[in-house]
């Protein structure tokens, strides 16, 4: 199947009109030395029926969180997505549309993005949000660069309780722009405030904090905001949008820029992508925000509508002076986020956050009772927590896997000092019976 509608006879007609004898003539200006003299060695060329069979076979080689009960979190979360979301995403006017550069025929996309921006602002307590970025990690890196741009300083502090892969992305993005990145250690599973204070000099542009942090713990965000502002620096907070049903918004805490991973709403695990990074900020930093932004506009008859605005800051106009090279947003993922969150609404998000909280805390209490397992940190947490295990983590997880349970993340992968520690996440997808089963299996390990 190759989706070329023109028949051989029609192709002849096209050639005739152009005035050439064969398609080969249209490629004559390509130097002979670089013409590929063989066919591409790429497997394929099959009917739709065969394609479905082959690729389904590939999908079946994967073991999913539908067949296994998963307790993995760490930046990618298994939440229940209402059925209507995917069905609406399949409306081809949404998913086959291009970027809304022609607003007259893109009001659907543009209005949905405006609604998305508003939702992100409401959730985070900020004044303006952009139309989304590639993912939470790259949004965070861009936010860090924003702080340098805004303060004209060149140093950024990042807590080690921020997702390790997010920190790695910052390490990739920042040095080429001449920005120094310094990591601040943690204490008892949260930011080490005295270490942070010591590092907060007048040359710091921004401090990057994740809340809840990678270990699931709730940080002293307000206190940190005050410390940061006292030195003329800016606070960037990376947040979990589900937690904002319960936790104080970053805006209320004093954050200057807020980012986060929006996957938890409307987007399946998808093996890590596509996800979407949200970025929101205060009015005074609006023009420093990278990425696309939608705003209200009036047409020449006075009718209200929506357009891509503040485009002069973007790469296609500002070129080498643009603060970022970002071209696309994760539009369809943001649309899914918007649909899911709209369905939850004010009461729904509260209830969802509450369920996650109660489930995770019940699980943690029950796990604490098991000899050989205990909670690593004593501070408050949302829906993730770290368990210290006397038994080898590989043995724990192998046993769980045998029982169709995917256990917590072995933290040695990211924190060598935390070998024998597992990060468990419990969402609303679990009921008491599931959790009791997890606890029972854990109890069976010597």
């Amino acid at each position: 199947m190759n989706f070329v509608p023109n028949t051989d006879s029609q192709q002849e007609q096209l050639l005739a009109r152009i005035g050439v004898k064969s398609v080969e003539e249209l490629f004559e200006d390509i130097p002979k030395e670089i013409r590929l003299k063989r066919s591409l060695n790429i497997r394929g060329g099959m009917s739709e029926q065969e394609l479905v069979k082959q690729i389904t076979g590939l999908a079946n080689k994967n073991k999913t969180v539908e067949e296994y009960s998963s307790y993995l979190g760490a930046g990618a979360y298994d939440h229940f997505i209402p059925s209507f979301v995917d069905q609406l995403l399949l409306r081809s006017e949404f998913y086959t549309a291009y970027t809304p550069y022609q607003p007259e025929i893109s009001q659907g996309t543009l209005q949905a993005i405006y609604e998305y921006q508003t939702l992100v602002c409401e959730l985070t307590g900020m004044d303006a949000a952009n139309a989304s970025m590639y993912d939470g990690a790259s949004a965070l890196a861009e936010a860090a660069l924003m702080t340098c741009d805004a303060t004209r300083r060149e140093k950024v502090l990042v807590l080690q309780t921020v997702h390790p892969e997010y920190r790695e992305v910052m390490k990739t993005y920042l040095p080429s722009r001449g920005v120094e990145l310094i990591e601040i250690p943690y204490l008892e599973g949260v930011a080490d405030l005295s270490a942070l204070e010591a590092a907060l000099q007048e040359d710091v542009a921004g401090v990057v904090l994740q809340n809840p942090n990678f270990f699931g713990g709730v940080e002293k965000a307000e206190e940190i905001a005050q410390m940061v502002h006292a030195k003329g620096a800016l606070l960037v907070m990376a947040v979990n949008p589900v937690s904002l049903g319960l936790l104080k918004s970053p805006g209320e805490c004093g954050a200057d820029i807020v980012v986060g991973e929006g996957q938890a709403f409307g987007n399946p695990l998808n093996f890590g992508g596509p996800y979407l990074g949200f970025l929101a900020t205060r009015d005074k930093f609006v023009r420093r925000m990278p990425g696309r932004i939608v705003g209200v506009a009036k047409d020449k008859n006075g009718k209200q509508g929506y357009v891509l605005t503040l485009q002069a800051r973007e790469q296609h106009i500002r070129r080498e002076k643009a603060s970022s090279n970002i071209c696309s947003n994760e539009a369809l993922c943001a649309l899914a986020f918007t649909m899911h969150l709209s369905a939850l609404g004010k009461t729904g998000i509260l209830e969802l956050a509450y369920r996650n909280l109660q489930n995770a805390h019940y699980a943690s209490r029950e796990i604490e009772k098991i000899p050989g397992l205990n909670l690593a940190f004593s501070g408050p947490f949302f829906h993730e927590f770290v368990v210290e295990t006397k038994a080898e983590p590989e043995i724990v997880n192998a046993w769980l896997l045998e029982n169709k349970i995917i256990g917590g993340l072995d933290l040695a992968r990211f924190y060598p000092e935390l070998d024998h520690h597992l990060l468990f996440c419990v969402t609303e997808t679990k009921c008491k019976e599931d959790i009791d089963r997890l606890v029972a299996r854990l109890g069976e390990i010597q």
Partner: protein, 128 residues
Amino acid sequence: MNPVELKYNKDHEYARVNGNIVTFGITNHAQESLGDVVFVELPDEGATVTVGKSYGTVESVKAVSDITASISGKVVEVNTLVLDAPDLLNSDPYGEGWLIKVEADDLFSLETMMTVTEYEAFVAAEEH
């Protein structure tokens, strides 16, 4: 059309000298090229500007232009009117559309700026 008493540079900015206080703005040619100005970003009063370095931006729907300092010194006044009414740069670039007033460290750098005749010739040449 461009005031005779002003000095001009290649970035289409002008300087109005009054003792050691210099007023800066963008020229009529600049506002024409940019189109409708939507936003102006200026430094705070008291900030320092350094010759050759950007001290702000002028943004239109089509482009964002950096404004570069022609001298070094301290900003003694900022035209807050243009922050709320950026269209002043289009309607009255030499009058109400001025940007900042700088107390110059010295006026030497202004000597490389062009007279009105030199500037108008420069603009005409650029257009080819």
